[in-house]
């Protein structure tokens, strides 16, 4: 079990890392523009949670590349979207912050902090109404837990008794402002512990995240009620490409870099014999190939045609079976 899981985790996390490093490079070259938020350092949370949650709707904020990958989105479509190409998952109209794929139950990609929290609660309500049991996973940063919409969503989830897993990716910083400067609690799970089961896990350990999510998922399915996990992690890069991240001490950064989730997973997996060096090398070269292919795909893809500007504003169709 651990063997196949370790392989899966390593592949997704490393793919996420390499894809984002390449995205960073392409941004600096001018092939990608706008806001590019990298998940580097936080891959264990994104991958562990999405894999652990399995089926169900997924709502994310703007730092969602790795979450999308873990959900099964084709890296080609992600990179093409970052390049603003027509072949991108949102036809080049959304960009890095706005990846959506309802076929994968992946609902974005929201650039307004906290806005998607209530979307998740609404979606869970709708699923419940239709007797669909899979539940909803919503991820958000520590910054969002100070927004009014967070408290509104949490309250509603309890009142409506809907199966939402609130997963806080706590990396201590809302852009450049450290959590303790603006939040009453440094540990965000304390904010909701009287509303629902709320736990804290080490977000640098993919297995820890995975297991906590499995536990939560069981609870969701059994009781149909909300659950809260806070994963403590760290982003190694700035908030976005325009941010140097120099408001953090080099010591702090070094400390977390020592806990690099990918390196640690590799080390543990090799030690325990879940993976061999050969397997790792094989995956690494496969990943390098996927990254290269994705960039080539994006580079050779067409720009959206001009008429695309006016498309997708309204769907223009009418529901026929409403029976009025």
């Amino acid at each position: 079990m651990s063997q196949t899981l370790a392989e899966k985790f390593y592949f997704l996390m490393k793919l996420g890392r390499e894809l984002e490093l390449r995205a960073k490079e392409e941004y600096l070259k001018g092939n990608i523009s706008g806001f590019l938020h990298l998940d580097i350092g936080q891959e264990a949370v994104s991958v562990g949670a999405v894999v652990g949650f399995g089926k169900g709707d997924l709502f994310c904020p703007y730092r969602e590349h790795v979450l999308a990958l873990a959900r099964g989105m084709d890296p080609k479509l992600i990179i093409a979207e970052l390049f603003g190409k027509y072949t991108g998952v949102s036809k080049g109209k959304g960009g890095s912050m706005h990846l959506y794929e309802p076929k994968l139950d992946f609902y974005g990609g929201n650039a307004i902090v906290g806005a998607h929290l209530s979307h998740a609660v609404g979606a869970a309500y709708a699923r419940k109404l239709r007797n669909e049991k899979a539940g909803v996973l919503v991820t958000f940063g520590d910054g969002a837990t100070n927004a009014g919409s967070f408290f509104e969503a949490v309250n509603l989830a309890v009142v409506w008794k809907v199966p939402v897993l609130f997963l806080c990716i706590n990396n201590y910083y809302a852009i450049g402002t450290r959590i303790d400067r603006v939040s009453a609690f440094k540990d965000t799970y304390l904010k909701v512990k009287d509303y629902m089961p709320a736990v804290q896990v080490d977000g640098m350990d993919v297995f820890a995240v995975y297991e906590a999510v499995i536990e939560a998922k069981k609870y969701l399915e059994e009781y149909g009620k909300p659950y809260y996990i806070e994963a403590i992690t760290y982003r190694f890069e700035g908030h976005s490409m325009a941010d140097k991240g120099d408001y953090r001490s080099p010591r702090e950064l070094e400390m977390f870099k020592k806990k690099d989730p990918i390196e640690n997973l590799k080390k543990v997996a090799l030690e325990k014999g879940w993976l061999t060096q050969e397997q790792v090398n094989l995956m690494d070269s496969k990943i390098a190939q996927i990254v290269e292919e994705s960039v080539e795909f994006a580079l050779s893809s067409p720009e959206p045609p001009p008429e695309e500007l006016y498309r997708d504003i309204y769907c223009g169709s009418v529901c026929e079976d409403i029976g009025v």
Partner: protein
């Protein structure tokens, strides 16, 4: 002087001369502001006057209102106008109404600053121009800064007013270097004639003003002489200056980035038609944003807003069609 430096200077001078001026917003303090507008002020005035807030826009404006009610002069920064939508309740229902509802007993000497508009590929949730939303609300003033001179003097006057002011900046202008000088008699309610001309009056503001000026330079070569007006104040609008110009040129063009429908161009054209109908030698022309959310892809993005080329083309064609 860079646009953002002029804003910083205005804040600095206001805080230096009046201890009741305080700044609050996301990342404004320790981090120095996401567009570096408040850079250095935290170090100079301390955390009690440069206040880092959580991501809670409605409460940023709400608490600023409370501060202003009892005598401070808060300057609230909203990271972008897009996020100000979260604060619309405080802005529209409270900031704009408290004085009136209290029979003039309460005054709110406060400013809410925010950038808006298209920078480069920030996609639909980060690129909107929303000035018409604020400018349609009685009870607040809406100023905008098109260059470093209006940035400095406009912001300083806004802070010194005893009434609430929405102060709009353009996100693409922060790094622009403009000539700067201290003006003795700056009046934020007066529109500025930035270029004199005799054939067409072109009204604009924020970044569109610079695109307009570029277009007019080319139109000059075609023998069309444009008088270009920078509105400076969007509520109230200095119609006197526009009327005087149109009386001379007999023709009106309005250029802005926001969509044409129900934008400021609609208001200005309507006023001109009402007041100066018999002076008009052509129907008013509006060169505005398309009726679409702003797309991520650069080509589509540029299609969605007026560019110097489009403004030039539109005025030239319209002139030819209407006897110029």
């Amino acid at each position: 002087m860079l646009y953002r430096e002029a804003l910083n200077l205005a804040l600095d001078h206001a805080m230096e001369s009046d201890p009741s001026v305080v700044i609050l917003g996301e990342d404004v303090g320790f981090y120095g502001g996401n567009y570096k507008v408040t850079d250095g002020l935290y170090a100079k005035y301390g955390e009690s006057r440069v206040i880092d807030t959580p991501i809670a826009e409605n409460s940023i404006v709400g608490t600023a209102i409370g501060m202003a009610m009892v005598g401070l002069r808060p300057v609230a920064e909203i990271m972008t106008a897009n996020f100000a939508m979260l604060a619309m309740d405080q802005i529209v229902n409270n900031m704009a109404k408290l004085r009136y509802m209290s029979g003039g007993k309460i005054s709110l000497p406060m400013v809410v600053r925010m950038p808006q508009g298209v920078a480069k590929q920030l996609a639909a949730q980060h690129s909107q121009s929303l000035e018409h939303m604020f400018a349609s609300v009685p009870g607040i003033y809406v100023f905008c800064a098109s260059d470093s001179i209006t940035a400095y003097h406009g912001l300083l006057s806004a802070i010194r007013f005893d009434d609430p002011v929405i102060f709009l900046e353009h996100v693409a202008l922060y790094a622009w270097d403009f000539p700067f000088e201290y003006l003795k008699n700056f009046d934020p309610f007066s529109a500025r004639i930035v270029k004199e001309g005799k054939d067409v009056t072109v009204v604009s503001y924020l970044k569109s003003l610079h695109d307009t000026l570029k277009a007019c330079e080319q139109l000059e070569k075609e023998g069309i002489s444009c008088e270009v007006i920078d509105l400076v104040s969007l509520r109230p609008i200095d119609f006197e200056t526009i009327y005087n110009s149109v009386k001379k040129t007999k023709r009106l063009v309005v250029v802005h980035e926001a969509p044409k429908s129900l934008g400021l161009g609609a208001e200005i054209s309507a006023r001109i038609s009402e007041e100066l109908f018999y002076y008009l030698d052509a129907p008013p022309l509006r060169v505005c944003g398309e009726e679409v959310p702003i797309p991520y892809n650069r080509n589509l993005e540029l299609m969605s807003i007026p560019t110097p080329e489009k403004i030039y083309r539109a005025i030239l064609d319209w002139g030819k069609q209407n006897g110029l």
